[in-house]
């Protein structure tokens, strides 16, 4: 049971990382702000200046 829970926890962590939820949480933590439309806009302003993650063929 513990192993299944651990596997699920890792799966959710993977999905949160792939889907940028974890990156957004870190952004909120780093800037000590809570989630809001303005915070999310700022998160994207910061990311927009960099090229997107490459996706392979």
């Amino acid at each position: 049971m513990t192993q299944i829970k651990e596997a699920l926890r890792i799966l959710i962590s993977i999905l949160r990382e792939i889907f940028d939820e974890a990156a957004y949480s870190r952004f909120l933590q780093r800037n000590r702000i809570s989630s809001s439309p303005a915070a999310y806009a700022e998160f994207w302003r910061e990311r927009q200046i960099k090229p997107p993650k490459p996706r392979c063929c």
Partner: protein, 684 residues
């Protein structure tokens, strides 16, 4: 896990795995008389990957790279919560796999199935274990030891300025040709298909809706909104069926290849210019959500149904006369299948975001080598999906009208004469079952893969009545994949061009300056749009000329990556083990050079660009003749340029190797100095 076993048990387990690998590979290699079951391919692949990972990657990690769990990685030393971040190894694995898995391992093996199931399967297995996984692993580790530097930066530092410039040019060339080829795959999948076109068109407002929802209503709740987006996409697939059954709306969404090409070019330009959060990011989330789910579902479907492969081990087309693309099994099978065996593009990801997340050097093995094994497994699934089709059906779908004939009767007669019986009535029934007007001449690989996937799914979920829904689900899945790469690839290329132009005129380098954004986006879209247009107008279906060009460009980048890796290994005083990257390098050079030679100079007009130009010049002229001749000359020039680039980077690297081995040159690697890790086991 098996590392922790006691020794006799471990030896026994690996002996059984080796025996299974040998038996399954022998069955698929030797069996000829009757169709074989897909489970043999699954068993061979699983066991080969397990052996490759357990023994070969461990040997590379220990003997050559000397991976060191105590050496701090850039994720630890430079942690900033943004780019550099200590991350759980499985999370990095998932992140890396999601980035490297695209439509390539699905499309390439489907096209190469024209040679039979065996060549593609053996190349995917051997290529992945001995070349692709090795490339991804060593480049990732070398990037980790250089503060997460990119391949182009490493090439410049380790092999000289020429290596860096070639790597840069190769990346741009690959992106342009890749974007053109994959856009052509979408065009061929959606032309004259109101159901598919409607479904894919709907993904644009769905992505916009997701972007706005994330921005205004539930900021950052991406998983939630992706699930919602997925439900809307399923609704769009269902709606597409309704559209296709009603003449008036069906007419609106029945588009020719040219109209689709223009629509995609305009769309990609818009996607490159609008804010990332509005379209690119939500589409990326949606595509990843569908991608991971579908790959998992297909894997389960294949194991559960374990279908029979109807394609023979070899077809008569190993002689180079294939209708899907012209050219002999060597080198063209190895150019056509890139991503499932070795893909240069992966080296960009292994030296991109991934090295900045790895917590310990030892984890580069599972992330670099392991994720590529998973990618290769996807390619095996694609081979199975293509080969479960009756060969006659496979060739009817994948052959251009210019080769098999313009009418259904002519096409089926030609294909049946090749020894692959198929009738117009069979094809009509299949088209009807998947909700299409026709399945003839659907070149590009995606429709054949979709039919195969629908065939597998419909046997386990829903039966024949859901065949049409599964087919359009598969088309949507591939097209969504591809459009995401078009969005991201155009933007990545735009950033690279802006970076270069910034050295000439500073404001052009500013990635937020709109005139520069519009100018560079137009430049990059025009470049791949030209090749796309060329493919759409090509009487041989476009894939015949563009896919090999893409394969050559992609393998060129792999050549650059392996040159960099070999140079570093030699400089690390591990020259006696350099064969690990040198043998795949020699193989790729042989493949790339031979393929380029054929594509430029082969006297067969279906293979050689110059021969085709000559054939066009001597045939009765039409309004398109001059342009087709120019296109062939352009393709020959691009191929020649790629060839010269390979030669240059090889020459530069060989000079370094000889210099170091002979002692004339100092063997100095540009690694970041050793710093002891402070990570505890729990945190890593």
């Amino acid at each position: 896990m098996l590392d922790g076993m006691n020794r006799p048990l471990s030896i026994l387990v690996w002996a059984v795995v080796s025996l299974l690998a040998a038996t399954a590979t022998a069955v698929i290699a030797v069996h000829r008389s009757e169709p074989i079951n897909a489970l043999w391919l699954v068993t061979a692949a699983t066991c080969c990957y397990a052996l490759g990972y357990r023994f070969y990657s461990k040997f590379i990690a220990a003997r050559i790279l000397a991976v060191d769990a105590l050496r701090a990685t850039p994720a630890e030393r430079l942690e900033n919560g943004r780019d550099f971040l200590v991350t759980n190894k499985w999370v990095v694995f998932g992140h890396h796999f999601a980035a490297i898995a695209g439509p390539g391992p699905l499309v390439g093996p489907v096209l190469a199935a024209q040679f039979g199931y065996l060549p593609g399967t053996l190349w995917v297995l051997a290529g992945a274990v001995f070349a692709g996984c090795v490339q991804d692993f060593v480049i990732l580790l070398f990037s980790v030891r250089r503060d997460g530097k990119s391949l182009t930066e490493m090439a410049k530092e380790e092999t000289g300025v020429v290596g860096g410039l070639v790597a840069y040019a190769a990346v741009i060339a690959i992106l342009i040709i890749l974007l053109a080829v994959i856009a052509l795959v979408v065009v061929n999948a959606l032309k004259d298909s109101p159901w598919g076109t409607f479904t894919i068109a709907m993904t644009i407002p769905i992505a916009l809706l997701m972007g706005l929802y994330l921005r205004r209503i539930r900021p950052g709740k991406v998983l939630q909104v992706s699930g919602l987006g997925f439900l809307l996409v399923l609704l769009a697939i269902w709606g597409g069926q309704w559209i296709s059954q009603h003449p008036a709306p069906a007419q609106v969404f029945t588009l020719s290849a040219q109209t689709l090409a223009i629509s995609i070019i305009v769309y990609a330009f818009a996607a490159s210019v609008v804010p990332v959060w509005l379209l690119l990011a939500p589409r990326d989330y949606l595509s990843t959500f569908v991608k991971l789910g579908t790959i998992g579902l297909l894997g389960i479907g294949i194991v559960a149904i374990h279908p029979t492969l109807h394609m023979p081990a070899f077809t008569r087309f190993v002689d180079g006369t294939g209708p899907v693309f012209a050219g002999k099994i060597f080198p063209f099978a190895f150019i056509t299948i890139a991503c499932g065996a070795i893909s240069g593009f992966h080296s960009l990801i292994s030296s991109g975001t991934t090295p900045k997340l790895v917590a310990r050097e030892t984890e580069t093995r599972i992330v670099g080598y392991g994720a590529m094994m998973a990618e290769s497994a996807v390619a095996v699934m694609a081979i199975i999906a293509a080969c479960v089709l009756q060969p006659g059906v496979y060739f009817a779908i994948n052959s251009p009208a210019g080769v098999v004939g313009q009418t259904a009767q002519a096409a089926t007669a030609t294909i049946s004469n090749w020894g692959f019986p198929v009738t117009a009535a069979d094809m009509q029934a299949l088209a009807h079952a998947v909700g299409e007007q026709t399945l003839f001449n659907r070149t590009g690989g995606a429709p054949a893969f979709a039919v195969g996937m629908a065939h597998i799914f419909s046997q386990s979920l829903g039966g024949g009545t859901l065949m049409a829904l599964w087919y359009h689900f598969a088309v949507m899945f591939e097209a969504l994949f591809i459009l995401t790469i078009l969005d991201a690839g155009t933007r990545v290329a735009r950033f690279m061009i802006q970076d270069a132009l910034g050295h000439i005129y500073k404001p052009l380098g500013r990635t937020s300056w709109y005139p520069s954004i519009i100018f560079t986006s137009a430049l990059i879209v025009a470049a791949w749009g030209y090749f796309l247009w060329q493919g759409v107008k090509d009487p041989l279906g476009g894939i015949n000329s563009l896919w090999p060009l893409f394969g050559i460009a992609n393998q060129l980048l792999a050549t650059v990556a392996l040159c960099v890796a070999t140079t570093i290994i030699i400089k690390m005083h591990r020259a006696k083990y350099a064969a690990v990257t040198l043998i795949p390098l020699v193989w790729l050079v042989a493949v790339t050079f031979t393929a380029s030679w054929h594509k430029i100079l082969d006297p067969n007009p279906r293979v050689g660009f110059l021969a085709q130009a000559r054939a066009l010049a001597s045939a009765p002229a039409t309004s398109a003749t001059a342009r087709l001749i120019f296109n062939n000359h352009l393709d020959a020039a691009v191929t020649g340029l790629l060839l010269v680039m390979v030669a240059l980077v090889l020459f530069e690297s060989a000079r370094q190797w000889i210099g170091v081995i002979s002692g004339r040159q100092e063997a100095r690697v540009k690694e970041t100095p050793f710093v002891m890790t402070r990570l505890t086991e729990e945190r890593a």
